[in-house]
């Protein structure tokens, strides 16, 4: 008998499990049956943990039967992007260089999920070391879009978004450095939130662009995003860049979720929207109309430096990455080349063998930008442009509370369409990158489909540490629409 895969969100599921109406074991079994049915097509997971997941589910069910208190995600099957360290399974970052790396510690967010009694289904596929916008740069396997298996799921958190869309889990964690949660969320028709820089601990997140990386939730609904934030947000003494409770206390993101914001002013940037495909533009305009009907005032704003965001991003992120990835050298852990002739070859050959092309390209770019003679022209200049971009947001948020725009200029593109032209791939990050540079939160919510029935995402950006408001504003839109209720038919 096939177990039922309850068609509800995490909140609903958790409540039913906690009430004993649904058994976590049954749900977990159903999730794995879904995986067994479609994972060969989709390829969302690098590793799954069926035995351990069922054991954990059983434990949770037993606790509940015994009347013991259980956590906020009790019994809910969730997935984790494979660049977050776990003591169970390998942590590969979808790279050959870490294919057999077993972390002796859990990332802080993983500890939090475990403490909340979540059931971990597996580690999801991604672009290698989070470098990419399609998951095609994975060094280990391919993931396809559940809505159209000839297309990419987006990246770099493509495995996580595909898993949520394909019902291989009820929620997932992703990471976002230049759009890596939001863009794949928009391509897969799910919700993805990049929190404010410093809101969620980075301890245990394998670093790519340290001053840009953030971990965030990927879910089917805005409410689930809020629930996940309640679990993962907060100060971590192990992360010097995590914000302390005094400077920015963590609110209860669910508390006022369904309360609309009165006298809301939303900013839009028409020149920017004009740069996206017509279907995307239509969907964004549609979203604006929905807000207008709710009595929201729409303000046209300018972001004069927005167009310049990609350049400094690719200097800052790659510079930091070139340094962050220096540790993968075949000496203390990870892949080592066979028969190196000296210790230098341990480095040069292990890294050449273990890293994929895109990773090598970005390391080269970053090293070049930091090297003697070029530092001022590239890295230092990029940090100044970053300041200008943050300035644009500060000015904009004086006139509106949030900003609306597309997530991506296109919907999911075909596999292999952009692999040969790295610059073309980089340019598709145009809408998402600025939020990472400025450190502000941003969410992608489903807002329509194009003529090929491919999902389109609406991006909403808000000031630092205002995720509670951001989620409420996203919820206002979600309540009026049912895009988020649609699910892909996997062929």
């Amino acid at each position: 008998m096939r177990d039922e895969l309850p068609d509800i969100d995490c909140r609903g599921l958790r409540d039913q499990i906690a009430a004993g109406d649904v058994k976590s074991v049954a749900v977990t079994k159903a999730v794995f049956e879904q995986i067994e049915k479609h994972e060969r097509t989709i390829g969302a997971y690098i590793n799954t943990f069926k035995e351990q997941a069922l054991a954990k589910a059983q434990k949770i069910d037993d606790k509940i039967a015994a009347g013991e208190p259980v956590g906020k995600l009790a019994g809910v099957p969730v997935a984790i992007k494979d660049n977050m360290c776990t003591t169970f399974g390998a942590t590969t970052c979808a790279s050959k260089i870490l294919e057999n790396f077993h972390s002796p510690y859990n990332a802080t967010v993983v500890e939090k999920l475990l403490a909340a009694d979540a059931v971990i289904v597996g580690k999801t596929n991604m672009d290698e070391f989070a470098m990419g916008s399609s998951t095609e740069n994975s060094g280990l396997k391919q993931t396809v879009n559940p809505w159209d298996t000839s297309r990419v799921p987006g990246g770099s958190s493509g495995g996580s978004t595909a898993a949520v869309a394909a019902r291989f889990c009820y929620a997932a964690l992703g990471s976002d450095t230049g759009g890596s949660i939001r863009q794949p969320a928009s391509f897969c028709g799910v919700v993805g939130l990049k929190p404010t820089y410093g809101r969620v601990s980075r301890f245990g997140l394998v670093a790519y662009g340290s001053s840009l990386d953030q971990i965030g939730p990927i879910t089917r609904t805005v409410g689930d995003c809020a629930l996940m934030m309640n679990v993962i947000a907060g100060y971590d003494p192990a992360d010097s860049t995590s914000i302390d409770e005094k400077t920015a206390p963590v609110p209860d993101y669910l508390e006022k979720l369904d309360e609309p914001i009165k006298r809301l002013k939303i900013g839009t940037v028409p020149e920017l929207n004009a740069g996206s495909d017509s279907d995307v533009q239509k969907a964004i305009s549609g979203a604006i109309e929905v807000y207008k009907k709710l009595g929201v005032e729409i303000v046209e704003i300018e972001m004069p430096h927005f167009d310049y965001a990609i350049a400094p991003y690719y200097i800052i992120a790659t510079a930091e990455a070139s340094s962050n990835l220096a540790r993968y050298d075949g000496v203390h852990y990870g892949h080592r080349t066979k028969n190196p002739k000296d210790y230098i070859e341990v480095y040069t050959k292990s890294r050449a063998e273990g890293f994929g092309k895109e990773v090598k390209r970005r390391i080269m770019l970053g090293t070049y930008a930091l090297s003697s003679g070029y530092y001022d022209a590239y890295y230092l200049k990029a940090l100044k442009v970053r300041n200008l971009i943050r300035g644009d947001f500060t000015k904009a948020f004086e006139r509106c509370e949030v900003i609306l725009m597309p997530v991506s200029p296109t919907t999911a593109f075909k596999i292999d369409e952009k692999v040969d032209d790295p610059l073309k791939m980089y340019l598709s990050d145009i809408y998402t990158i600025a939020a990472n540079l400025a450190g502000i939160p941003s969410i992608s919510v489903p807002c329509g489909f194009d003529k090929n029935n491919l999902p389109i995402g609406l991006q909403i950006l808000s000031p630092a540490f205002s995720e509670d408001k951001l989620l409420r504003i996203a919820r206002m839109y979600e309540k009026e629409t049912d895009w988020h209720k649609k699910k892909p038919v996997i062929s």
Binding site: T91, S103, A107, G204, A207, S210, A326, V331, H332, Y347
Partner: protein, 487 residues
């Protein structure tokens, strides 16, 4: 090289291990001699996903030293990554400080002879983490131990103000003294707590013109002796080389030499194809530090009188010898105890002798400092006064001091109990002297004779009086009586 006239120019880079309990960025215990790789955690191992968190104690120790070195302490300081690949550097970058170090522009005074000092400029002092250790085992491989990786290091860079190997050694020893005084580092050379890298060259004067030899940086120096010897060696080698080749300092011809302790020579290290490009950039995982006035005041309150100041005070004010002043100031507790005893009224020279000849020996035996011997400053001052007044002889005072440590009693009581009070009553002593003279006619004649034998005879007679009084006669008084009687 007597034909060559030259000036020696040396600048020194020193790395000091700070004596915190844990590493700079993680809670691994700092210890010595443990099993390899037993004091390592994901952070100092540079595992994927880890992040550093700064040790507050290490930071404050660093600021304290900077203050003791008379540096300007930065109100705003930040961290940078210094990138290079090496097996003992797990992240393949070192977290250090580049353009905004925590302190700059200071100086250290080193003792020269006879109470003089020389000022050596300090360019900067900053905080960074140490790497692990590469061990070169037999065979074609090397071993890596990361126990030391992440140890807090204070890097100090001096101006090239030193002009001899002796001065360099003096600076190294002075720095060791300072960090020990401040309690921020054990500075034990055997444990590798201090490492030196001198930059040496010569300014040669020949036929009225000046020539600078290329700068040589010497590495792998783990003792003061190696430091001094390597500089002496370099001086000789550079002078010789100049005579041979006439090579002078140019852009890019600075070289690195390693010190071979067995050969007692510097050896040119394998030339690298290019100079290091460290690609410094701001450390994104650490936020900057801002030092408030209050915080600076707090740290400053932990400063103490520096050893050089104490030493100069002892030589110039108390007229103690360079050597004695050095002994008293070798450890902070000794000097501070000495100061307290002098404050309580002890005459400095007497107190000095008591401590250097007796006190330190006893403390060494007991394995503690002189302040922990159980003798109060007042009591020791009292003993010093007794010697000054002639109540006890210097010899007796040794015994008394030892007994004070054992029994914890006052010096007068001990002196009385053990019959160590000197007899200084001239009247009483006169009778004994007369007795001795009567019993030793030959000696008396010799003493009176005025030739070579008389000194010896005087000593003999004095000795006889001391014997008769069981050593309790005040030898000064006895000598005076003998002089009077024998002319």
């Amino acid at each position: 090289m007597s034909e060559l006239q030259y000036k020696v120019v040396v600048g020194l880079e020193i790395h000091v291990h700070l004596g915190t309990k844990t590493k700079m960025f993680c809670g691994c215990e700092l210890s010595f001699g443990e099993e390899a790789n037993s004091r390592v955690c994901p952070v100092c191992l540079g595992m994927p996903g880890v992040l550093p968190v700064m040790n507050k104690q290490a930071f404050e120790y660093a600021v304290l030293v900077a203050m003791a070195l008379n540096c300007e302490v930065a109100k705003f300081t930040k961290w940078d990554r210094k990138g290079y690949y090496y097996p003992d550097l797990p992240k393949n970058y070192q977290i250090s400080q580049y353009d905004l170090p925590l302190s700059r522009n200071g100086f250290i005074e080193i003792p020269l002879e006879s109470g003089k000092t020389k000022r050596i400029g300090i360019i900067r002092a900053h905080l960074e983490e140490d790497a692990g250790k590469n061990l070169h085992a037999t065979g074609n491989f090397s071993q890596v131990d990361l126990n030391r990786a992440g140890t807090p290091l204070l890097e100090i860079v001096t101006e090239p103000d030193m002009n001899s190997a002796a001065e360099v050694r003096a600076l190294a020893e002075e720095l060791q003294r300072i960090v020990r005084y401040l309690g921020v580092s054990e500075a034990d050379m055997q444990k590798g707590h201090m490492r030196f890298e001198p930059n040496v060259n010569l300014v040669i004067t020949k036929n009225g013109k000046e020539y600078k030899t290329p700068i040589v940086e010497v590495k792998n120096l783990n003792s003061f002796r190696a430091l001094e010897k390597s500089i002496e060696y370099e001086i000789g080698r550079q002078a010789e080389r100049f005579l041979e080749t006439g090579e002078v300092m140019e852009m890019g011809n600075k070289s690195t030499h390693g010190w071979d302790d067995i050969k007692e020579a510097t050896v040119l290290q394998r030339e690298k194809e290019e100079a290091h490009d460290y690609r410094y950039f701001p450390e994104p995982d650490l936020v900057p530090v801002e030092l408030t006035e209050q915080w600076l005041k707090d740290i400053k309150s932990r400063l103490c009188e520096l050893p050089i100041k104490k030493q100069m005070r002892y030589v110039n004010e108390y007229k103690l010898s360079d050597y004695d002043a050095g002994v008293l100031t070798a450890e902070r507790t000794t000097g501070e105890f000495f100061d307290e005893v002098v404050k309580a009224g002890g005459e400095p020279k007497r107190v000095c002798n008591l401590l250097t000849q007796v006190g330190l020996k006893l403390a060494n035996e007991k394995g503690c400092s002189v302040a922990e011997l159980g003798v109060k400053p007042d009591a020791l001052a009292q003993l010093a006064k007794m010697i000054e007044a002639g109540t006890v002889s210097a010899t007796a005072s040794t015994v008394i001091f030892e007994k004070m440590v054992k029994a914890g009693k006052e010096p007068e009581i001990i002196a009385k109990e053990h019959n160590l009070i000197q007899k200084s009553d001239a009247g009483k002593l006169k009778k004994i002297v007369e007795q001795v003279l009567a019993d030793n006619q030959k000696a008396v004649d010799d003493a009176k004779s005025g030739d070579k034998k008389s000194k010896k005879a005087m000593s003999f007679l004095l000795g006889q009086v001391m014997q008769k009084t069981k050593g309790q006669a005040n030898p000064k008084v006895v000598s005076e009586i003998l002089e009077k009687k024998l002319g």
